[in-house]
């Protein structure tokens, strides 16, 4: 029997056939991963932008880096159960782990009244239908899309010479995005409360509540304080005054917020978190959040948890808001974890 050579002679066309399929697959794969389109905004390039703006801080969250952990519970009252089957919205109490933080990627930034404060929550009902919520104390999001988010971050990054954003760059961004002007005004004229505990935190993004019969209702929500809202008072000399005050407040007594669900009206734009909704929209008081303990992030109960806004229970689904998808996508690249003791840690509660 004549042995066949390992590679018998064959026409170039046949060789082309052998090479073509794997090459096509490889090119498709590279395209899907964004390697053939270097200008496409990806999770990595978005996070790289934040790192460029804020500097690298290994082990910390890329955004909302300075924060503390809180725990407590959420007590649903059933008022929103008609438009969503989420078990959390039924009457009953579920444990909560949360985190108060300042927006921005600098873990050692000084507290200041006008800095954006955030409250992230993880609601953990016994049936495993978790709900993770990320809220901020601003009326609207400054941009509509992740592309605009990156452009704004770059335009408003502090100039190394002055430590302040370059006004010319900010102006150029404003001029190029006239549709964001209303949002910018709402943000700069927003009322400021004295601290974390008398602040109102909003979902900004829209979600869809799904009822038992499948009806979808577009909603946004806010955590509205039951505490009296005090005006800002001066603490400018204290680097951590907001966090100190928060720790004192919660140590003094449990603090409470009402979960107010806003149902989209006929004229509200659902998928644009830079636009506010009408004032006369239907509001539902869906339950009460009570926070009883506050702890440092180092080894605290919120460490290593990503408050991914797309971790939703049955009965709540994401809207088409592009910012919402981008928030979730960018979060999943990076999980903050235990880090070496830093020279200057964010404030720790006293024992």
């Amino acid at each position: 029997m004549a042995t066949k050579p390992l590679v018998p002679p064959a026409s170039p066309l046949r060789w082309l056939g052998v090479v073509a399929a794997p090459t096509a697959l490889a090119l498709g794969f590279l395209w899907a991963g964004g390697w053939l389109t270097p200008h496409r905004l990806t999770q990595t390039s978005l996070l790289d932008t934040l790192r460029t703006v804020d500097g690298p801080h290994p082990g910390f969250r890329r955004n909302h880096a300075k924060g503390v952990c809180v725990t407590g519970w959420f007590e649903g009252n059933g008022n929103a159960a008609g438009i969503s089957t989420a078990s959390i919205l039924q009457p009953g109490r579920v444990p909560v782990v949360g985190r108060f933080a300042l927006a921005g990627g600098m873990p050692f930034q000084a507290d200041a009244p006008a800095k954006v404060r955030s409250l992230a929550l993880r609601l953990m009902p016994p049936d495993g239908q978790e709900w993770r919520i990320g809220t901020n104390d601003i009326p609207v999001f400054p941009v509509r899309t992740p592309q605009e988010f990156r452009a704004l971050q770059l335009a408003s990054r502090p100039d190394p010479a002055t430590g302040k954003p370059d006004p010319a760059r900010v102006k150029a961004f404003r001029a190029a995005h006239p549709w964001l002007q209303t949002a910018a005004q709402q943000l700069s004229h927003r009322p400021l409360s004295s601290g974390f505990t008398d602040d109102t935190y909003r979902s900004l993004d829209s979600f869809l509540f799904v009822a038992k019969d499948g009806t979808e209702t577009a909603v946004r929500w806010a955590m509205v304080p039951l505490q009296t809202i005090a005006p800002i008072d001066g603490h400018a000399d204290d680097h951590d005054y907001l966090f100190r005050q928060l720790i004192d407040d919660i140590h003094a007594q449990p603090r409470q917020w009402r979960l107010m669900v806003t149902v989209a009206g006929r004229h509200d734009i659902i998928d644009d978190s830079s636009q506010s909704w009408a004032d006369d929209d239907r509001q539902i008081d869906a339950g009460t959040l009570t926070l009883t303990t506050v702890e440092s992030e180092e080894g605290g109960p919120c460490t290593g948890i990503t408050f991914d806004p797309l971790v939703l229970p049955q009965g709540i689904v994401p809207s088409g808001d592009p910012i919402l998808q981008a928030r979730s996508a960018a979060i999943c690249v990076h999980l903050p974890h235990a880090r070496a003791k830093s020279p200057r840690s964010p404030p720790s509660p006293r024992p």
């Binding site: 029997m1 060789w15 056939g17 090479v19 991963g33 797309l310 229970p313 009965g315 996508a329």
Partner: protein, 176 residues
Amino acid sequence: MSSAKSFSLPSRILHWLMAVMILAMLFIGVFMASTVGPNYYRLVTLHHPLGIAILVLALLRLANRFHSPPPALPAELPPLMKTAAKASHILLYALMIAMPLVGWGMLSAGGYPIPLWGQSVLLPPILPHDPALWACLRSTHTVLAFLLFGMVLLHVGAALFHGLIRRDGVLRSMTR
């Protein structure tokens, strides 16, 4: 070529079904791990059940392989190529099983709920919540994905080499 030299019908069905699923999974994975676009959530929601389906089918396929072994490679194939073929198939099976398990473990270590189908059916965590472990498994998932994709390319190339250049019946044993 006699039909005895072909893969059994169940083997062929499993092979082609999983070929489509694994390729889809690799493309979905690499796209969703980079995009900040509007399809992100939909793709993530698809990635989980597809991964678990691949895990189940891979185990089923392994059992099927023992039950009806594949046809022997052509006798005249050089020993080195036979060894390469065997090794690459072992690696493919290992990756088909490891990839979903690493993904499942990664979500467990990240402290995420692990939705299997929509938001209604959840899988239990298979590892404790540990951010450092999450970071390690996420890198592993990525590296294994590239390795699996590389193996798939090699597999396709080798199959076409058998079919178009050597014309030794190896490709046909899976296509008919």
